[in-house]
Symmetry: C2
Subunit: 334 residues, 2 copies
Amino acid sequence: MSVGRQPSMADVALAAGVSAQTVSRALRGSPNVNPETRQRVLAAVDQLGYRFNNAAKMLSSGRSHTIGLIVLQSGGYYSRSAVTAGVEAGAGEAGYAVSIATIARLDTGLMERALAKLADQGVDGIVIAVPLISVTQKMEDITRDIPTVTVDGSRTAGARVLGIDQRAAGRVATQHLLDLGHRQVWHVAGPDEWIEARQRREGWRECLTAAGIEAPPVLEGDWSPASGYRQGQILAMIPEVTAVFAASDEMAFGIIRALRERGRSVPGHVSIVSVDDIELAAYCAPPLTTVRQDFYACGTAAVALLLQGAGEPAVEPPVLAVRESTAQPSVTDR
Amino acid sequence: MSVGRQPSMADVALAAGVSAQTVSRALRGSPNVNPETRQRVLAAVDQLGYRFNNAAKMLSSGRSHTIGLIVLQSGGYYSRSAVTAGVEAGAGEAGYAVSIATIARLDTGLMERALAKLADQGVDGIVIAVPLISVTQKMEDITRDIPTVTVDGSRTAGARVLGIDQRAAGRVATQHLLDLGHRQVWHVAGPDEWIEARQRREGWRECLTAAGIEAPPVLEGDWSPASGYRQGQILAMIPEVTAVFAASDEMAFGIIRALRERGRSVPGHVSIVSVDDIELAAYCAPPLTTVRQDFYACGTAAVALLLQGAGEPAVEPPVLAVRESTAQPSVTDR
DNA sequence: CGAGCCTATGTTACCGATGCCATCTGTAAC
DNA sequence: GTTACAGATGGCATCGGTAACATAGGCTCG
């Protein structure tokens, strides 16, 4: 009605003929409220278009019903953005708002600032969805005060870590190539600062070692197709390369392009397997054999862990989607 | 020191030997504070690890320094996620936090709930980054109270709309195919509820009309490669198809796959152009001719518009990246 | 029938900052 | 030597809720 300002609880109380406190109780579903009174309150709320003031609620209750999420700005890293969606969904379901802090790149200073920003906002908890490697004192200070869950990152004081077993993904991918008959599997890894990259690499190495194969030197990209292309150019020069495990689908496509440009067909000469199973993986040429992991579930699990403090939830095992980028080595190569 | 609770302004004031009011002034950079006093205050802040309470600030000042962002949950739609990144960057630069509300799909009810949720949080402004088509009374109520910018959506009361000229993208793409000598251009559009989809389709139609060509029936996908694949299967059955304009890169790859499976090569038999220029566009086979638009800038512009209320900022024109998915029609087709 | 207790509601203090006004000091102006 | 005024600071009310305690009525039970 009046254009003055948003109606407050006092206004509602007046309209309903009760005290503000009763309004508060009625709205929060306190058991000790007469159903009829509650009806009156709700009617008044509806009529006035009352909307409770989160700041005030937060100030007096000390809780904001908001969780902070730290993500990387660049949208390119598939698994992380899936985690983000999961976090949003999980938080939304629990009635929590999500406040995001993006950092432009992996950098300790930016990370500190993002944490501080969220802390300033009074978030009730923080999900760190970037691979935190080094932990500073400042970070410790914040994560000691605010419950924090790190998705695949280093442990900080009081912060829990939710891990997806990226090693398993590396093993599954590598084993698939070995099973096809390849004698050696090369690897184009992600940046070393990324836990995912490291663990996938470790899984690859473990698998080779278990098969009695000495791992070849690791090539490193930055997740982008462009970096895959560059590493692919190198791989194309090495005649004995018949199988490659790429740490991400996007890099895999870059590698494939470079190989083909140099006359090495995929999967004819070289088989490629990667990780992520992005939507395009099945539709580009050739359709990519890739390992799928449920990062979305990982996001919801992170929120659950944060809010309920439940124990480490079960994580789905990685699943290999076999498509056309992998094949048995050609006879001459065997 | 004490584990009790976060230090408050009063604690800082005590430590610095001044009043809480002076602390407030010092921290906010009020001009009327003795530099020496300010030093003392800052020292105390530093020593106590003081962190201001956003809720309290918000309650008393009435402003939250937070802007709300409404996005679609599904990460697949390239242009929207680029907008998101832009919004985050722009807001961060202006010292604003970003609170996100995701909606699972385009649905009026979900949209209302998302708006209400952000309003409850007391955001200072809202950026709607989903294509809002129908506007309800409830939405009007909220956007009348809170400054809102819609990125490519319908206008609501008091909400400004920031548009990217998607028509231009459609025209540029279509014209490119005509310039190559194609006599007809087919179109696989995005879902009709999406403004982008509609505008791109209009641009395509305008361009054909200007060239005196009657537009063929429109095929419709849902942005996903899978939907592109399905429409591609249909296109493959129509012999006279030599040129296709796809509304997104992902659909384009699906179309290409379907065409090739049916023996129609790209660009040999059919040329394909699309919109987005995702990273993979240049690295998949064939590299995709596509129209790039600066959605990131669109996001930062939305924030600028929201905060400064500046006039409609200039939008970069779309740029065509010509790659290998388009070519002149083969002689027999001409 | 009064003690004890439970239910429904009202009262009051407070969360932590800011806005407004009051105060105090020094200094320039008349 | 007042007056005027600006700069620096403090006091107090206030934002809109919630926690803690107080109160009033109705019920059970010995």
